[in-house]
């Protein structure tokens, strides 16, 4: 069985009724890293949000199955406990909630939903220290409110730290490369690569091929007008970089 199956997914923005995903079908195998590329407005971020369960999107047709089970009726926190993780394109700031408190609350909430016991303090601190060190996140950042006063690069690194602590089974990285300089891109990519495992799948959403030099995908899907229009190996990303998206937007029109 595939880890994640997205079947003929149709999605509209609630209230507006604007259709974004238009019969999207996609399968992610266990341990697979899939890149999703596509022009602006093709539905990449909507796909990320719908996977994570963000309110405001109406699924009018189709289904999303995780291990063969539909997750459409699950709240975002239930999906998280099942192993879905979204690294946000624009991580939000949560002033007043210290990063350490947040990480611990989230981890324990997930463990509780899975029927596991709470993590012990020494175990948790050890886990955070190890991961934070590799990502260049210092103690001061961990004491501050979640993402408060972080630079763009620091926010993306903090997202990867959350991912490392929460150990998801399917991670969706929504334009994790946006706003990163070369050095930050390298640190973030190394963080992601450390988390690659036969047990963990990833969906890497990006406009540009550059990120895929660092996080080498097993498969590349091209999204246009709300559905997958082409699937290929990692060389497809290079072709897109050279030729652009015009042929797909025209094709789909």
């Amino acid at each position: 069985m595939s880890l994640l199956e997205i079947k003929n997914l149709h999605v509209e923005i609630e209230d507006e009724g604007k259709k974004i995903l238009n019969g999207l079908t996609l399968t992610i195998e266990k341990g697979q890293v899939a890149a999703i590329m596509g022009p602006n407005g093709s539905g990449k971020s909507t796909l990320a949000y719908v996977l994570a369960g963000r309110p405001g999107y109406a699924v009018t047709e189709g289904d999303i199955l995780l291990d063969g089970e539909s997750i459409l009726d699950m709240a975002p926190n239930e999906r998280a406990a099942k192993g879905v993780f979204l690294a946000f394109q624009y991580p939000v700031e949560v002033p007043g909630v210290a990063t350490m408190t947040f990480l611990r609350t989230a981890l324990n909430a997930q463990r509780k939903l899975r029927g596991e016991g709470e993590i012990s303090t020494p175990e948790f601190l050890k886990l955070v220290r190890a991961e934070a060190g590799d990502l260049g996140i210092n103690q001061d950042m961990l004491r501050r409110g979640v993402n408060v006063g972080f630079s763009g690069g620091e926010k993306k690194r903090a997202e990867i730290l959350q991912m490392a602590i929460l150990q998801p089974r399917i991670a969706v990285l929504d334009e994790t490369d946006s706003g990163l300089d070369i050095d930050a891109l390298r640190i973030v990519s190394e963080g992601v690569n450390r988390l690659r495992s036969p047990e963990r799948s990833m969906i890497v959403i990006t406009h540009y091929q550059r990120l895929l030099n660092y996080i080498v995908p097993d498969v590349v899907h091209v999204l246009a007008k709300g559905r997958v229009v082409r699937t290929g190996g990692k060389e497809l990303a290079l072709e897109l970089e050279a030729k652009g998206y015009a042929q797909y937007t025209d094709e789909a029109a």
Partner: protein, 437 residues
């Protein structure tokens, strides 16, 4: 010329009867009796403040006070016993408690052990014997024609009279514990004088049953003095509290008020920067639900140059509760280089809750920095989704966000012990909150 006789409400009539019945027995003679009589005349002429009085626009006391409860009598042994756990919110600070039950000072529940530089007495006693400190300051800290304050002056029974001598730094915080054991009305008046260079941390707590409380504190902050003042109102019934403050030069003060589990509360602060180069903050948090109503009204007067003031109020509103903020900053002629900023934010957790914000600036100097801002809104759905996407359930996500909203203001409290006590009281409130799916 025809005499205009305003129609008096039953409560106003009862208050007049209470004053006339009590005036012979209220403590103090001579100038004190005259002070009372003048104050009552002012109250009687205008009656209870109502919505057409601009400063009371959102808290119509004439309507809210449908009837005046009888004046409290001295607390009996049973009443004193129930006061035992009152004001426990600051217990971790091991404060020096001065306990008032139904408005009367209870020495046996209070800590009157001596400390160098600290003088403590009861207001009733001070009024009776004609205390010099009271004679020098009472009614003079900040003169106001507010009628609720006038009623307090007319009816004042007991309270604390405290002096912290020049240069003294109190080792423990002082706590005025006001507990109401019966559903009666009481009028307390306190005077605290912090002399030059002295340091004190003062807490004031109000809890107990649904009484009608009209309390006033005159706080005189001397030159170079440092004062932290914290008030927590957690009482049903009607609470009207007036803080009158005068601040000398090169002084520092930080005040904070927390209102939760209340009925109707009006906290009015009249604060004057009377000396140059002083800094002060006035902050507060309202945590409201049901039909609770809290009105924080400030008048910050910059009468001297080079002073900085910060005012920040937050309200978390559930149910059909209502939070009122009125803040007026007045910069007097010559108070150049004044730096005064005011901010108020309301977090609405229900469609039926209401927040009223009225900031005002009156500036008569040309080289100042003054500003104000106000916001009101619901919980940010993006933040909520972010927290939930990490595995945190809806109730806990909301709790964390409300905590963060309050935390932004509470974290600014410079006094560590007070800060922790306030945050822990706020967290207790959050724990009892019901989340609607």
């Amino acid at each position: 010329m025809a005499d205009v006789t305003p129609i008096k409400t039953p409560a106003e009539q009862a208050l007049a009867a209470a004053y006339n019945g009590a005036r012979g027995k209220l403590p103090g003679q001579g100038t004190i009796a005259i002070l009372r009589a003048d104050a009552f005349k002012r109250f009687d002429a205008k009656g209870l403040p109502h919505r057409r009085v601009e400063e009371w626009k959102y808290t119509d006391l004439r309507t809210l006070l449908s009837d005046a409860l009888p004046l409290a009598t001295p607390p009996d042994a049973e009443a004193r016993k129930t006061a035992k756990d009152s004001g426990a919110v600051f217990a971790a600070l091991n404060p020096r408690q001065l306990v008032f039950v139904d408005g009367a000072f209870v020495p046996e529940l209070s800590d009157l052990s001596p400390e160098p530089g600290l003088t403590i007495g009861s207001m009733a006693e001070a009024l009776l014997k004609g205390d010099a400190l009271v004679a020098a300051h009472l009614g003079k800290t900040f003169e106001s024609d507010d009628t609720a304050l006038a009623l307090n002056t007319a009816m004042m029974g007991d309270g604390a009279v405290i002096r912290v001598a020049a240069g003294a730094a109190l080792t423990r915080p002082l706590q005025l514990v006001y507990f109401t054991a019966t559903e009666t009305s009481n009028y307390t008046r306190s005077l605290i004088v912090i002399e030059k260079g002295a340091q004190a941390a003062i807490a004031e707590t109000h809890d107990g049953c649904a009484a009608q409380v009209n309390t006033a504190l005159e706080l005189v902050v001397g030159d170079e003095a440092q004062v932290d003042y914290f008030k927590i109102v957690a009482a049903r019934g009607i609470h009207v509290g007036s803080l009158l403050m005068s601040v000398g030069k090169k002084a520092r003060f930080d005040t904070f008020v927390l209102n939760q589990e209340v009925g109707v509360v009006r906290n009015q602060s009249f604060i004057r920067f009377a000396g140059e180069h002083s800094t002060g903050s006035v902050r507060g948090v309202n945590l409201l639900r049901g039909e609770e109503h809290v009105d924080n009204t400030l008048l910050i007067e910059h009468a001297a140059a080079h002073c900085a003031g910060r005012e920040q109020f937050k309200a978390v509103l559930d149910g059909e509760s209502r939070s009122v903020f009125q803040g007026k900053i007045v910069v007097k002629p010559g108070a150049q280089k004044t730096d005064s900023k005011m901010m108020t934010r309301a977090l609405l957790l229900s469609d039926k809750a209401e927040a009223d914000n009225k900031p005002e600036l009156e500036i008569f100097a040309d080289d100042v920095v003054c500003g104000h801002g106000a916001t009101a809104g619901a919980l940010d759905p993006t933040l909520k989704f972010y927290l939930m996407s990490r595995g945190i359930d809806e109730a806990q996500a909301e709790t964390l966000l409300i905590q963060a909203f309050i935390g932004e203001t509470v974290e600014e409290i410079p006094h560590e012990g007070f800060r922790d006590a306030i945050m822990s009281a706020a967290l207790d409130w959050l724990k009892t909150r019901e989340v609607k799916p």
